[in-house]
Symmetry: C3
Subunit: 341 residues, 3 copies
């Protein structure tokens, strides 16, 4: 079961070049090298056009500027100003249609509290648990082994993968994707040290977690609830696997955080910041809108880093040009010392 | 349902200032800005006193030295030598009382082996599994989706959150909190390389894991069992989310380890050490009592680091003053090189 | 129930020294200090021979070159050219035999789709879920709370520990061990940014994950499936806890990756590379066969690092000798600056 390129174009836009009369149905997407006869592929670089035409694919999404170069013998091409984006949307269209065939509903082994509310078309997988007063929005799919805490609210069309835990106090808006094993709304790392005994006692970690629309959260990532107030993840933000977000952190919209990065308590990450992998951000830091933090850099406690498109690197993080100069200077110094000997 | 400030003070100490006659009941704790009319708040800084009095809160915990400054129109104040600590204890008192209303017992979907032993008031959540010969102490609460391995012993008043896995060979003492997704007692990373084939073969990872009283373990943290002997986590130690503890590691009492730090096999961390986030500690390292390791620093294999209150930073970790001097010297060097050009 | 040293030697090789007539049965393995009267121990260093003979152990595995030094009063010794390896094999032999006593089969609470295929002697633990068309090989043991996605293929004699999630699109070959909480085949971190809105849209993450024979994967590790093609983990490779492997990564055979390291998308790690803890590898990197990456080092995007046995360290990673020279030069520079003042 597939779609014509025209059906796909109707959903994702673009202009078709070529004869749609006898074109094969499209039932999947693939890379240039692995495509089969019912797959859709894409190119961004016009140099790959002949390779793409020579592939086994059913059709190609390509940049508009190649329109004049398409040979008459070509397979079907969908021209787009942003071919990779159009390809992504086409893939989502095809996949989504396919998902509608999957088994839905509440699995008989799921434990759903009688006071929980399930929206129309919500599905709860085997051995998942939905606690008292939790609300699951329409068409949200919860996989197996998931625990949804007391009073948790989840919006519509979310996907919560297997073995995710969502603590009480969490609110998740629409179309949020949470990958397997992630933990949302866990207690933050907050203690008060008794001056007389030296022992750490637990400071209350009873605040909220709010995750806005279209966020995606990677496998085994952890996001702590606020201590007394809220941790907030803004609309469209994407967190990779094993990312850690501490209590009371405020993340803006369309932020990306690559794998294994950690953001300590009460820090603020403004819109559209880009945070590389294994970055560490101390507590009470501000990362300004559009700032780029290179992989493995570290931003010390309390620091404010600003500048749209500015790249920072190193530990402690500094402007990348400065850090590269320092690395070069150090390299020269070590060589000159070596030569002296 | 709430408590009078007097009831709270009876449990956590402190001296009340003000008229308790018509004071509102206290049913929660909050921050200064988010407090409602039945919330308890705290201040540490006397400058915040008038803000606190002007807030919506029912009562304030404040430092003793503000006693003389309290206006007669103030709401109730509880004076304490350690107001944040007293606030934490008050929060725990209120929360604990509330928990007693929660549903307890063994959920019908839990799989509890007939030879497992459950203490009085222990509860096992939906879809959790307690294997043969495991022992769960009195009033310990095990959430949903948890697996407790063969022969595991858990003490009293522990909280094991959802989707935690505890391997066979683990002993957990009293009042330990384990957050969702944590894995305790997994196999360490130990192999023997066959000199003839180059293949790695598994060295036995069959030792024990012992976790003492009042430890808290963060979400998705992992602690490996000993290879042949034991991994030990001392009383009162707190591990943040995504922390990794290798096989045979010995951690003392009241140690704190911030998120995403890792401690390699056979290292020793002595009492009251403070380890920042994303720190890496090689194998067979000793971190002396009270040592402070700055975020992202790295301690090489075999190294011994000592000095109560001494701060180390960098990779490899060195005294922070030395490291800051080096960073400053490098910055000057790069600038002078740049100026030469 | 135990084994004679002869039975063990029949399985793991080696030559026995001493009188086997009245020797105690061996039912376990232990370290020198913790051994009991039915334990097998090993030494690699001949200086430990008398300590080993004086221990409580039932028998000792020792290097061949100590053959001439064994006193007549010694307990049994098994001589081996690789004593630690022989010990590891003996431990596995004893443990494996013991496992055969464990309860097997499909637990009544497991949810196994009618179209899933289970090999002879495969076992599925409580509350695990095996989806449509999944195949589980002979004698593979799946613990509790595990989710096996639609169409996943798992080979024979694998061990999948509790709360593991394996996404659809994954193929796992034989004798693979996956520790608790690991997530295999999750979506990679791939988005296309819409130039007009600034929003990130999901690029399809629908490729495959292939894990070859004898791989071991640590607790809470995450391995993403390919975006359109495959992520591949080669035979005999060992990944420690909390390791992250991005989409389309190709890892060769007998690679070891220590805890909390991360490998970004499309990178290639060739055979027998050794990667320390908390290492970060950017995307499209090549790590050549046998290269050694020191703990916490970082390899930037696109970099090619080669040299069997060559050690790299630092961020960005450089030959360790160079990096150590730089560290030394910097230390001298800071001291000289300090002295100037």
């Amino acid at each position: 079961m597939g779609y014509s390129l025209q059906e796909i174009a109707n959903n994702v836009g673009g202009r078709i070049v070529g004869d749609t009369a006898n074109a094969p149905d499209i039932s999947g997407v693939a890379s240039l090298t692995s495509a089969g006869p019912h797959d859709l592929i894409f190119i961004e670089d016009e140099k790959l056009l002949s390779t793409a035409i020579g592939s086994k694919a059913a059709a190609i999404i390509a940049p508009e500027n190649i329109a004049g170069q398409v040979p008459t013998t070509s397979k079907l091409i969908l021209l787009s100003p942003q071919p990779k984006l159009t390809f992504a949307r086409a893939a989502n269209f095809i996949t989504e249609q396919r998902l509608q065939d999957q088994q839905l509903g509440v699995h008989p082994t799921a434990v759903v509290h009688q006071n929980a509310k399930l929206g129309l078309g919500a599905s709860i997988g085997p051995h998942s648990v939905v606690h008292n007063r939790a609300e699951i929005g329409a068409r949200t799919r919860i996989a197996s082994g998931v625990t949804i805490g007391v009073g948790v609210v989840i919006g519509k069309e979310c996907v919560i993968n297997a073995n995710v835990t969502i603590y009480s106090g969490s609110t998740i808006h629409d179309r949020v994707i949470v990958h397997a094993g992630a933990v949302l709304g866990s207690d933050g790392f907050g203690y008060v040290r008794d001056k007389t005994t030296g022992a750490y006692e637990k400071f209350p970690q009873i605040g909220r977690l709010e995750i806005h629309d279209d966020v995606e959260i990677g496998a085994n990532a952890t996001i702590d609830r606020g201590a007394l107030d809220a941790t907030v993840i803004g609309r469209g933000t994407k967190l990779d696997n094993l990312v850690h977000i501490g209590h009371n952190v405020q993340i803006g919209e369309n932020v990306v955080v690559a794998a294994q990065s950690g953001i300590s308590g009460s820090s603020v990450i403004e819109d559209a910041a880009i945070i590389g992998g294994q970055v560490g951000i101390g507590d009470h830091v501000t990362i300004g809108a559009g700032v780029i933090l290179g992989a493995k850099c570290g931003v010390p406690t309390g620091k404010i880093v600003r500048g749209k498109g500015e790249v920072y690197w190193g530990v402690p993080a500094r402007p990348i040009k400065q850090h590269l100069k320092e690395l070069a200077a150090l390299s020269r110094l070590a060589k000159s010392k070596a030569e002296e000997k």
